[in-house]
Amino acid sequence: MKIPALFGHLPLEQPGEPNLKSFPAFMWWLALGMKRLLATGIFFGITGLGSMAAMPGFLGAGVQAVADQDQSRVNFWAVMILLLGAVTAWTTIMRHRRALACFITSASRLQQLIAKQAKDLGADLPKYVSTGEVVSVNSNDVERVSRGFDLVPRFVGAVVSFFIVSGILISGASTLGLLVVISVPLLVIGVAFLIKPLEKRESVQRAKLSRATDLASDTVAGLRVLRGIGGEDVFVQRFKDASQEVRQAAVRTARVRAVLNGLEVFLPGLLLIGVVWLGGNMVANQEMQIGQLVAFAGYSIWMVLPIQTMVEFAQRWASAAVSGRRVLKLLQVKPANEWGTNNLESVAQITDKESGVSVKAGEYLAVVCESSTTADEISERLGGYQQITKTEINGAPVASFSRNSVRTKILAQEKEPTILSGTVATHFEVPASGRITIQQAIAAASADDILDSLDGKGLTAEIIERGRTLSGGQRQRLALARSLFVDPEVLILDEPTSAVDAHSEARIATRIREIRQNQTTVIFATSPLVLDTATRVSLVINGTQVATGTHQELLRSNDDYRAMVVRGE
């Protein structure tokens, strides 16, 4: 698709450094980023609405010419009307294109800024702001702010044309003109007062609809359970009740909307009556021509449009202001920088001072904890994600190194790693040593059958919904394959085979050892199939390492260990 030049430069390579000092400063920074678009948009806004505003005058002149039976003037005004129509059509679409470009510029830039912020916060993001908040800012607030910019050209056009027409009306017939100029804004603003209660009812109605939709999708999501055990009727009834509430709320909204629509018909109608009354009498008294009366009637109807635009602008910016502040607040979050600048060259030893668990270069260490929670805590500390003051690398605090170099050398795979959406091939698009091929990694994690279950399309198969359709064991093996493919200097795995069947677990444990030969690996596990492959096992009870040795040694010497890992007794 050929991209129009107006937004051919988007999305920007970098969103730039915004001014986050205050809300107005932030908005001004955004506006400056699209100043040419705004300027040309405003130009077309003024010419577009201005040409529309001129139409009643041209029509009036035409009617006057008909009344005067002046054919050449009729022809002249007919041509003028056509020309004016062409100008309106052209300027309107030009304005619209620029308004859209403003929207896209603002939205894409804000989204890029938010994405960059999410990247900077990284694993710590939940410490500062809930993911739900980030998502709602990105989806709702970005759009509201951008819709504010989108309306600027039309708004300026509306203001300017309003004053032009007011000038024409007042200079044409001062009393009548003043009547129109004063009452039109009053009418529009009066109607606008009804908008608040309408919006209130609408938001109630939306909330009820979204609750009904939630119930329906909840029922559908749990449909397998319901079909397997029963309870369909109970859940359908629950949905029907919610659905009826939506209906009632919608009817209540419609009542207010009906009043609003009624007024939208009635009030301009009243104005028109006023114009006909006053203007008609002026024509009867020879103070005005017929064509002028036609034009005046046209103007008074047309005046509603710019005023409506102004009200719309006020409403949009009221909500853009709220949203803009939310975006600003998110971007203002500054991650506490706990990290140093030293470059981590290589890892000789990592120690968790809290538990006493320590791993040396080249070791394949297995850690047995009595609970999964303890395992999580120790593995997050060893990896440098939680309580990083308690971890030492090569005898120095982990925080003395740069975060980037630590992440490069050490890969700590958490218990439930995220599978990102995309294909199997994109799943493996991660920075890696290149020593291990995707096929080797998949084979080592015993994950070949997953490719089969994904429609058998191999690497091009799509992983739907972030792997939610896969079983827990399949997700684990897919994630494990990815970590093995990365092939980091130090690999920490938190219970990577807890949901994998015994047959595969035995295979995987052996293959991990082979593929990680001479490299540092820490694996948290309780299965003897895994523990037996490790060069050393560390036993943690009550959060502290109490014994260490090979699996066989510990089996012989430690009763607690035996009780924990050998099941079936």
């Binding site: 698709m1 050929k2 129009p4 988007l10 999305p11 029509l59 009617v63 062409a86 309106t88 059509a89 679409i93 294109r97 890029q112 994405a115 960059k116 999410a118 990284g122 694993a123 993001l125 609809l209 009904a212 939709t213 939630d214 119930l215 329906a216 909840d218 749990g222 449909l223 359970v225 079909r227 055990i229 029963g230 859940f235 949905f239 029907k240 009826q244 419609a254 009906a258 009624g262 028109l272 006909v276 009867a284 017929i290 036609v294 992440r407 890969l411 995220t418 959406s421 994109t426 698009e429 991660v430 059958d449 799509e462 949901a499 015994a502 299965s527 003897p528 037996d532 050998v566 079936g568």
Partner: protein, 611 residues
């Protein structure tokens, strides 16, 4: 670092728009061949609309009557205004003005009141139809045969439940009334013009052929283009959702910069679609907006010559001019909303599509006992590739059978067939002499129930979540069920115990707790045979072992078929089936299999470290 990489996107919703606007974008949402659930045909949709409409015939006619009255009232003032100009030109005075003002005022009152009632009546009717539609959809969805749900995947059905219901709602609530009113207005204004002087109609319709042609061109492209554009736009957000929720994984894998490329690529793709749609509008909008103006010039010219020849009055020329001007609004409204209306209709065809899902093939009979007998069972998901290959087995009531084997060997498939989710491709699985895969779902589940590791916590209280269909169960019974799955402890600690709101938006249960909940439901439902497919896989080993102990105490005389990856489960069972590559390779008690010294025995020994 590359800044834009469309390959990064690689999924259907991210397809590029066509090269230029002469090509119509494909609508993946309406591709019947790709849909995992049927999409209703145009005919079915029209029939359903007609049925719904005729159920409210009276209200429908009343709404149409109100529409007509509103529009007719609207026609009065231009004519009166034209008459006034005529008489003013002929020297009339203030009296004529007064008369006209009174006429216009009466017409205005009438129009306002008719419009007010029209809005209300139309909303009441529309909301009735909407609620009927969505309630019928959900009622049908919960009756779908289990294998259809599995085939479709939850995503497809969910999508229809949320997106399509919303689309239909907007279409019926907003576009349908507007379209009805606009069409009536256009027709009646045209009648008004003909009544003024038939010759004007030709002038008024001068640009109609152009508008019709261009609009057809536009409408062929626009609905699907806007739908794709919207979903591509929402993909930008999906990328961020992943980045935010997977922050830990992304940091560990150093994918931060890659995520920025993905965001930028998604935005880039969205802009491409915006470019496509703005091109559509650039061609269509100006033509339409010019088409309101051209007729004015035409009416003026024709009017002038007819006025000169004396065949029409000035009043008629003015009225025709004003009528022509009045046409712009309804035409614009019609063109504007017809998009939405079409998209609503497309959604409706997806909603109604679930009526076309073939029903489960039922051969009803009453199982005489709970003996399970499988004979020469074969089953495959793809042609020519059977997952289960000609297996036979028998399970006596009260047996605890464990199924073990490597991933992908067909264990879960066997579990589903045993629970009667669907019948086998070849051979039979009978419970008490009846083929379980052909029993009505409601009957099959009273004999065999299946719990998989896929768990779901419903929005509602803990009590509702455990009881499901059995809402008459007492608290004591519910607590007993929770005790049987070791859930008493955490359940008691919940803020409001059984009355705690759980599920999406409520108190969040851990995956392991959700799994216990699933088992508690089963205890309460109390079928004779339970198939547990990795039903305790999310608990840690110690907890799983304990749970299985307390559960088996409750399920003493029940048949339990457990598919498990933990050998512990197998050890505690009466019988073990080892499934490898679609075949039962070993069958017998733990002791027997150890004596046979096959694959199971060697696995067990390595697990127990008996070298």
């Amino acid at each position: 670092m590359k800044y834009f990489d469309s390959k990064k996107l690689g999924i259907a919703a991210f397809d590029s728009p066509p090269k230029d606007t002469s090509i119509i974008a494909k609508d993946f949402g309406l591709d019947r061949s790709k849909a995992r659930l049927p999409i209703a045909s145009e005919e079915t949709v029209n029939k359903e609309l007609f049925t719904l409409g005729s159920a409210h015939k009276g209200e429908f006619l009343f709404v149409i009557l109100l529409t007509l009255l509103t529009v007719v009232a609207q026609l009065v003032s231009p004519r009166a205004f034209g008459n006034l100009l005529e008489s003013l030109k002929n020297g009339a005075g203030a009296e004529a003005v007064q008369q006209t003002v009174v006429i216009i005022a009466i017409a205005l009152f009438a129009q306002t009141i008719f419009a007010y009632f029209l809005r209300i009546k139309a909303a009441v009717l529309g909301e009735f139809i909407l609620s009927a539609l969505r309630e019928r959809f959900v009622s049908r969805a919960v009756q779908l045969p289990p294998d259809a749900i599995e085939r479709a995947g939850s995503g497809e059905l969910l999508n229809r439940t949320t997106t399509d219901i919303n689309h239909v709602t907007w279409a019926v609530r907003d576009s349908l009334p507007v379209i009805t009113i606009c069409v009536s207005e256009i027709i009646i204004i045209c009648i008004g013009i003909v009544l003024t002087a038939p010759a004007f109609l030709a002038a008024t319709l001068i640009s109609a052929p152009l508008v019709v042609a261009l609009t057809r061109w536009y409408l062929k492209r626009s609905p699907q283009a806007y739908r794709v554009e919207a979903s591509v736009y929402s993909q930008v957000n999906s990328v961020l959702v992943e980045s935010a929720e997977g922050g830990r994984t992304i940091e560990a894998l150093r994918l931060g910069d890659d995520r920025l490329v993905r965001t930028r690529s998604a935005i880039g793709r969205w802009i491409e679609w915006e470019s496509y749609t703005i091109r559509l509008r650039t061609r269509w909008f100006p033509a339409v907006s010019f088409s309101y103006i051209a007729p004015l010039a035409a009416v003026l010219l024709i009017g002038a010559s007819m006025y000169q020849s004396g065949s029409v009055s000035l009043a008629q020329v003015t009225a025709a001019l004003l009528y022509t001007q009045m046409l712009a609004d309804p035409i614009e409204g019609l063109l504007w909303w017809i998009d939405e209306f079409q998209s609503g209709k497309a959604s409706l065809s997806r909603l109604l599509g679930i009526y076309e899902v073939p029903d489960r093939v039922v051969q009803d009979s009453d199982p005489k006992d709970d003996d399970i007998q499988g004979d020469h069972v074969s089953y495959g998901y793809r042609e020519g590739k059977d997952v289960l290959r000609d297996i036979s087995f028998a399970v006596k009531p009260g047996t605890r059978l464990a199924i073990v084997g490597p991933s992908g060997a067909g264990k879960s498939t066997l579990g589903r067939l045993l629970a009667g989710v669907q019948p086998p491709r070849l051979g039979t699985i009978k419970v008490g002499g009846s083929e379980i895969g052909y029993l009505p779902v409601e009957k099959a589940r009273t004999h065999v129930a299946l719990v998989t590791q896929e768990h779901h916590v419903f929005v509602g209280t803990l009590r509702q979540n455990v009881s499901l269909a059995f809402s008459d169960k007492s608290d004591a019974e519910i607590w007993d069920a929770l005790a049987a799955v070791d859930a008493t402890e955490w359940a008691k600690e919940l803020p409001q115990a059984l009355d705690t709101e759980v599920g999406s938006g409520g108190h969040r249960l851990l995956p392991a707790q959700a799994q216990q909940l699933a088992l508690a439901r089963l205890v309460l439902a109390n079928p004779q045979t339970l198939v547990l497919d990795e039903a305790t896989s999310l608990l840690d080993a110690k907890a799983a072992k304990h749970l299985e102990g307390s559960l088996s105490a409750v399920l003493k005389n029940r048949t339990v078929i457990a598919i498990a990856h933990r050998l512990q489960t197998a050890h505690d069972a009466d019988l073990i089936a080892v499934i490898e590559d679609g075949l039962i390779t070993e069958w017998g008690s733990h002791q027997a299999l150890m004596t046979a010294n096959g694959a199971y025995a060697s696995l067990w020994r390595s697990w127990r470290d008996e070298h």
